[in-house]
Symmetry: C3
Subunit: 376 residues, 3 copies
C-alpha cells in the first residue's frame, strides 16, 4: 500500500475516532442550529476529571519508574516538550494573520504526546525486533506535562503583555489628556479595573514597562486547569490512588472526553471562519513540525545514547513521542488553560493532520534513521 | 400457572425493577415532603447522555445491519412506529378529560420499543424452535426512534395550534376593541410576545388560520432531546464510537436512568391528582393498544412474508416489538421533548400495565397466531 | 514488628489511601491558593449518589439477612450506634473550647462503621480459626445508619436549642425595651425572621422554654442527606435495585468520594485554625473511644451470647465494628447533614487516629478478650 492511500485511510480513521467524531458532530449540530446545551458546571467537572486523570497517569508512571536510569532521557523529554512550544511561538505565531494564542496552543498540542502514536511506534519496534528500555514508554509524561504547562504560561505571559501594553498606552494618553484637570477628579474612580490582574498591571504601568513573569507563572499554576493536573501528578507520585484511578478516572476518561469534544466542536463552529485566511499556515506547520520535533528529540537522544548507553530503540521512542501531537490530554487542558485560543485551529492541526503524518511518515522515518545510524 | 397469577407476579416484578422502583421512590419521598433536589444541570446532562446512548445504540445497530435484506420489514417498523402515535392522537386523546399532550406522549411510549419485552419474545421463539432472521432484533430502532420523534413533533404541532388559536382569538378581539383607537397607539408595543414562536404565530394569525408544520418539525429536531438522539444516531451510523459506547454511554445508562426516574417520580407526584378522573381510560388503552399495535405490525409483516419471504418468526418479532411499550428510551426522551406532558400518565400506562400485558398476553397470542397461520 | 512501627506504618498507609490523600490534596491546593472550584451542583449530585449507595448497601444487606436469627445482635448494634453519639455529646462536647457540633459529628463518625476495619477483623478471626455467624458482617448497617441519623438529629436539636435560647433572650430584651412603645409599632415587622424554623422557635419563645424535638427529627429526616440515605435503604429492602447498584452506584462510589474529599479538604483548610487549641482533646478521644465503644458492644454481645447462643466470634465482630470509625459513609453524610461542623475535626480524629487504633490495637485486644473469656 503506497503512502497516500495509507495517509487517506488513516485520516478517515482519525475522523471516525470518538475524539474527532464528537468534535465534528458538535460542529455539525451547531451549524444546524441545535439548541443542545451542556451546562457550564458539567464542563467544569469534566475538565477537572480529565486533567486529574492526566496528572494521575503521569504521576503513577513516574512513581513506578526507575528515575536513576531515566534521568538523562527524562531531561531530553522535558527539554523537547518546552522547546516545541517556543518553536511554535517564534515560527507559526509570526506568520501573517495567525493569532498568537492559537499558535501557542497548537505548539502545546504538538509538544504534548499522543498515547496512540506512541503505541504504534512501540508496535513497529517490536515487529522489527529493535530492543528498547522497558521504561521508555514512561518518558511521555515528562514531555507531555511540561509542554502543556509551558503553553499555558507562555500564552498568559503574551496576553498580559498585550493588556499591559494597551493599558500603558491608555495611561499615557489619559495622563496627557487629564493634565489640565484639577486634583480631586473623582470621576476616574470609575476607571478602576475590575480584575485583580488588570489592576496590578495598570498599577505597575507608569513605573516600568515590563511585565513580571513570575506572578504570571504562579497565576497559571493556580488556575483550575493546571492545579487539577498538578494535584493529580502529586497524588500519583506520593500516594496510592490506584484504586480510584482504575475504578473511576481511567474508565470514564474517554467518555467524558467525548462530551467535552462535542462542546468544543460547538464552540469551534462559531470560530471556524477565523481560520479561512490562515489555514494554509496550519497545514504547513502540521506537516513540517513533526519532523523538526522528532529530529530535535532524536539528536538529544543520541547524546544520551553515547553518554549513558540509552538504546537506539529508546532514541526512536523519544523521537516518535516528540513527533506526535496530543489528541487526548491536550484539548481539555488547553480549553481550560487558554480559553481564548480557537479549538478549530489547534485540534484541526494536531489531530487531523499532525497525527496521520506522525504515524504514517515519522515512525518509519525515525526507525529507518536509527537503523542507518545505529546499524540495527 | 394461570394467567392472573402470572400477570400479578410480572406486575410486582415490574414495580421492583430499578426503573419503576426509583419512580415510585421519587413519588414517595415527594409525598413525605423530602427536601432532596437534583440540580437542573445534572438532569440536563443525564438526559443528554441517555438520549445520545439511545441514538448510538440505534445507529450502531443500523450500521451493522444488512439493510438490503431488511428494507421491507424496516419500512413496516417505521410505519407502525408513526401510526401508533396517530392512533393515540385520535383515540385516547379524544376521550373525555384526557389531556391531549398526555395522550400523545403515551402513544409515543407505546410506539417506542421495550428491549426486555423483545428479549422475552426472542426467548419464546427459541424455546419453540421457531426460526427467524438474525437481524430481526435490529428492527427495533426503526420503530423506536420514529415513534418518539413523531410524538414530539405531533405534540409540538398541537401546542402551537392551541397557542395560535388562543392568539388568533385574542387578535380578533383586540382588533375589534381597538378599532376606535387612533393610529400611533404605542401602548400595544408591550403586547409583543417574548418567544419567537409566539411571535410568528401571531404574525400569521390575521393572514391565514393554519399553523405551518415544517418550522415546527425543524424546531422539534433542533430541541435538546431530538438533537442529542439524532446526533447519537448519526455518530453510530457514520463513525466508530464503539469504544466510548462500551466504556461510558452503555454501562452508565441504567444508573443515570434511575436518577432521572427519581426526578420524574418527584415531578409526577405533584401531578398525580390530574389522573383521578381519567385513570380508567389509560387502563383501557393500555390493555387494548398492545393488541391493536401488534395486529397492525403482524398484518404488515405478513405482506413482507408473502412478497419478500420474511420469516414467520420475524413477523412475530415485528408484532411483539409493536405490542411492547418503552420503559427505557421513552421516559427521558419525552420528559425533555414534551415537558408539559404528565409522566404519571404515560409511564404509569406503559410500564405498569402495558408491559405486563405485552409480555404475559401478547407474546403467546402472536406466537399462537403465527403457528395457526403459518403452520409452524 | 512492635506496635509502634505497625501504628506508624498503618498511619502512613491511611494517609496514602485515596480518601485521605484527596482530603490532604484539597488542603494543600487550598493552602497554595488554587482557583480550582468544584461546582455546587456537582457536589449535590455526588452527595446524593454516595448516600443513596450507602442506603442501598445497607438495604440489600438487610433484605438478604435472616432477620429472625439476627434480632438480638441487631438490636445491640442499633443501641451501640446511638449510644456512641450520646457518649461524644456528653464527654467530648463538654471539654473546654471544643465546639459541640464538631463533637457530635465526631461521635457520628465513631458510631458509624468502617468496612475496611471490619474486613481486617474478619480476616483475623479466620486466621485464628474462630467461627462466627455468616450474617455477622450484615450487622454493620444496623450500627452505621442509626449512628449517622442520631448525629444529625442531635446536632439539629442542639442548633435549634441554641437559636431558640438566643431568640428567647432577644425577645425578652425586646419585650422589656419595647414596653414603652405604643401599639401599632409597624417597625418590628422587619424583625420577622426569614426562615421557617426561626419563625417557629420565636413564636413559641414566650409560651414555653423548650424546643419541640419531633419536628426537628422530621426536618432532619426530610433533609437531602437523610432522605437520600433512607430512600436507598428502602429501595434496597423492598425492591430489586441490584442491577443499578452493581453497574452504577457501587463502582462509582470511591471515585465520587475522592472528589468530595477534595472539596472537603479545601473547605477544611480554611477552618483548620479552629482546632489549634482543642486538637489534644480529639487525640485523647480518638485513642480512648474505640476501646469504650468496643467494650460496650462486647458487653451487649455477651448478653446475646448467653441468651441466644450468639457465637463468641460474632461478639468480637460486634466489638470491632463498634470500635471502628467510618472513613467512607460518614464524611459525605455529615457534610450534608451537619454543614456547620468542621471536617478537619471529625475526619482528622476518625480516619487519621481512630482507624489505626481500631485496626492495630482493638482487633487483637477483643480477639484476646474473647479467647480469655470464651475459652476459644
Amino acid at each position: 500500500m503506497d503512502f497516500w492511500s495509507f495517509f487517506v485511510m488513516d485520516f478517515v480513521k482519525q475522523l471516525q475516532s470518538p475524539t474527532l467524531a464528537f468534535l465534528i458532530g458538535g460542529m455539525v449540530i451547531a451549524a444546524l442550529g441545535s439548541e443542545l446545551v451542556i451546562p457550564e458546571s458539567i464542563c467544569a467537572i469534566i475538565v477537572f476529571m480529565l486533567l486529574t486523570k492526566i496528572g494521575l497517569t503521569g504521576g503513577i508512571a513516574i512513581r513506578n519508574s526507575n528515575l536513576a536510569d531515566m534521568v538523562l532521557p527524562m531531561i531530553c523529554a522535558v527539554v523537547v516538550g518546552i522547546t516545541v512550544v517556543f518553536i511554535a511561538r517564534y515560527t507559526l505565531a509570526k506568520l501573517p494573520k495567525v493569532k498568537v494564542v492559537d499558535a501557542i496552543a497548537t505548539g502545546g498540542l504538538f509538544g504534548a504526546v499522543s498515547g496512540s502514536t506512541m503505541a504504534a511506534g512501540l508496535t513497529v519496534l517490536e515487529e522489527q525486533k529493535i530492543s528498547y528500555e522497558a521504561w521508555a514508554g514512561a518518558l511521555y509524561p515528562f514531555m507531555d506535562i511540561p509542554a502543556l504547562v509551558t503553553a499555558i504560561v507562555v500564552a498568559n505571559i503574551y496576553l498580559n503583555k498585550k493588556k499591559h501594553r494597551a493599558a500603558a498606552k491608555a495611561t499615557k494618553q489619559e495622563y496627557l489628556s487629564k493634565q489640565p484637570i484639577a486634583a480631586g477628579d473623582y470621576a476616574d474612580k470609575q476607571d478602576y479595573p475590575s480584575s485583580r490582574q488588570e489592576y496590578l498591571s495598570q498599577q505597575q504601568a507608569p513605573a516600568d514597562n515590563r511585565v513580571k513573569i513570575w506572578p504570571i507563572i504562579e497565576e497559571s499554576l493556580r488556575g483550575p486547569a493546571l492545579s487539577a493536573m498538578l494535584l493529580g501528578l502529586a497524588l500519583g507520585i506520593f500516594t496510592q490512588p490506584e484504586s480510584v484511578y482504575k475504578s473511576f478516572y481511567d474508565p470514564l476518561f474517554r467518555g467524558l472526553l467525548s462530551i467535552l469534544m462535542l462542546v468544543m466542536g460547538m464552540e469551534a463552529w462559531s470560530r471556524i471562519g477565523e481560520l479561512r485566511k490562515v489555514a494554509q499556515w496550519y497545514v504547513v506547520y502540521s506537516v513540517v513540525a513533526p519532523f523538526i520535533h522528532g529530529l530535535l528529540a532524536f539528536g538529544l537522544g543520541m547524546i544520551a545514547h553515547y553518554t549513558m548507553n540509552f538504546s537506539m530503540g529508546g532514541v526512536v521512542i523519544l523521537a516518535v513521542i516528540a513527533a506526535s501531537s496530543s489528541d487526548i490530554s491536550g484539548p481539555p487542558t488547553l480549553r481550560a488553560g487558554i480559553p481564548s485560543a480557537n479549538p478549530s485551529a489547534y485540534i484541526g492541526a494536531s489531530t487531523a493532520i499532525g497525527t496521520p503524518i506522525a504515524i504514517g511518515l515519522c515512525i518509519p522515518f525515525f526507525v529507518g534513521l536509527a537503523q542507518a545510524i545505529g546499524g540495527l
